[in-house]
């Protein structure tokens, strides 16, 4: 009943034997031991568990770990080089775009994919891009500001 899978997780191949019913979010946290990906609602609504599968932002609570076999997965741990911060993380810090931080990893993975495709977004585009991630602390204003600031810096980089 179990399956052997191999996933390119943040550049390292993680091999594991998993039950088909194991959610990708639980694989990341409990089998690969990467706790940056948070699990909120487990029904695809809150966006806290957003990761990138082959570069696209997806809900890891709505995927099975077996489906990631042979694919490339990126989690929030892949963003920052060493001890530094990724420009999006730095912008979040500077604009106070997080308070409790629970939703932040999901936002970061959604935003990183968004800015790759839309390096110079309008505010409306930013708002639409953020619509799939819920934050209950900040009221979003600072997050929108952070995306704009990060976009500006990434364009200049």
């Amino acid at each position: 009943m179990t399956r052997q899978i191999a996933v390119d997780l943040n550049g390292l191949v993680v091999e594991a034997e998993v039950e088909p019913r194991l959610l990708l979010s639980d694989f990341i946290r409990h089998r690969a031991g990467l706790h940056g990906t948070h699990v909120g609602c487990e029904q695809g609504v809150c966006g806290a568990c957003t990761v990138q599968l082959d570069g696209a932002p997806v809900r890891s609570c709505l995927l099975l770990a077996v489906q990631a076999d042979g694919h490339t997965l990126r989690t929030v741990e892949s963003l920052a080089p060493g001890d530094g911060l990724h420009p999006i993380q730095a912008a979040f810090q500077e604009t106070h775009a997080l308070q409790c931080g629970f939703c932040t990893p999901g936002f970061l993975m959604s935003i990183e994919a968004f800015l790759r495709h839309r390096p110079d977004p309008s505010e409306d585009e930013i708002r639409e891009a953020l619509a799939g991630n819920l934050c209950r602390c900040t009221g979003y204003r600072a997050i929108i500001e952070a995306v704009g600031l990060a976009a500006e810096r990434l364009r200049g980089a």
Binding site: P20, Q43, V58, L63, E128, A129, A131, G132
Partner: protein, 272 residues
């Protein structure tokens, strides 16, 4: 909030998928994008014995223009529809409707055929496809058949697909020459389930109108189309569209008013 155990297959070929679906004595579910099915698994509202995952069947992963028609394979994702220049140019109603489906993370995985097979009357694409006279190609180990929207959608979350059948392709004819189209909906917040919606394709007095969240199935408003053809009046057509609806409950009145307004807007914008 974790799925119950199930057997899992991820075949590489369509023939193998159909053989697995034909197995007797098992509750088998097809897994495509999983954006509706996996929440149901997580809640254990669905407890299938076996999942047949389509995601490695490459022959089903296509979205292409073929002469005058658009062909949407079982693994074509919402994001494919959203990004397709051919869809934007030839089927703007689909391009407009898909932007209302969930959020970018949902559209990255969710499939068009999966949304149709799930048959939620509040889903956008089944309504848009109904307005475009789409044809639904179904396969099983026993053979194949092709259905129209009114033959496919049976009731709330229910289609006429047999347990061994797979919706393999949606074929969308080109909209009538010179037609315009519009998709409108009302939701509390963007990406939330819509409380009502309408899709219209209009060319002169030839109109097609379908309604979202107006009953148990994606609803083609034939009476309204008849009114446009005979009287040429969009307000009267909008009246006709909601007159026949069987809406019940304390919110029936405002839902009727909402759907009437959305039907009118869709017709007017499609004609503009």
């Amino acid at each position: 909030m974790k799925p119950a155990a199930f057997a899992y297959d991820d075949p590489r070929e369509l023939g193998h998928v159909l053989d697995l679906l034909a197995r007797e004595g098992e509750d088998v579910k097809v897994l495509a994008g999983g954006q509706s099915l996996v929440p149901l698994l997580n809640f254990r509202l669905a407890r299938p014995d076996r999942l047949v995952d389509l995601n490695r069947v490459e022959e089903l992963a296509y979205l292409r223009r073929d002469g005058d028609v658009l062909r949407i394979g079982a693994l074509a994702r919402h994001a494919d529809l959203e990004r397709s220049e051919e869809v934007a140019a030839g089927w703007p109603l689909l391009a407009a409707a898909v932007r209302f489906v969930g959020h970018v993370q949902i559209r990255a995985r969710g499939t068009v055929c999966g949304s149709v097979a799930h048959a939620d009357p509040a889903a956008e694409l089944p309504v848009a496809l109904a307005a475009l006279d789409a044809r639904f190609h179904v396969r099983s180990a026993r053979g194949s058949r092709t259905l129209g929207a009114e033959e496919l959608f049976l009731g709330f979350l229910t289609t006429t697909l047999e347990p061994d059948e797979l919706l393999v392709e949606i074929e969308v004819p080109a909209p009538p020459a010179g037609s315009g189209s519009a998709f409108v909906e009302h939701a509390r917040t963007h990406g939330d389930f819509a409380l009502g919606g309408a899709a219209a394709v209009v060319a002169g007095r030839e109109a097609r109108l379908a309604l979202l969240a107006a009953g148990p199935v994606p609803l083609r408003a034939r009476e309204a189309e008849e009114v446009v053809a005979t009287r040429g009046s969009f307000p009267e057509a909008a009246d006709a569209a909601v007159a026949a609806l069987e809406l019940t409950g304390p919110d029936a009145d405002w839902r009727r008013a909402l759907l009437r307004e959305l039907a009118l807007r869709a017709l007017e914008r499609a004609a503009a």
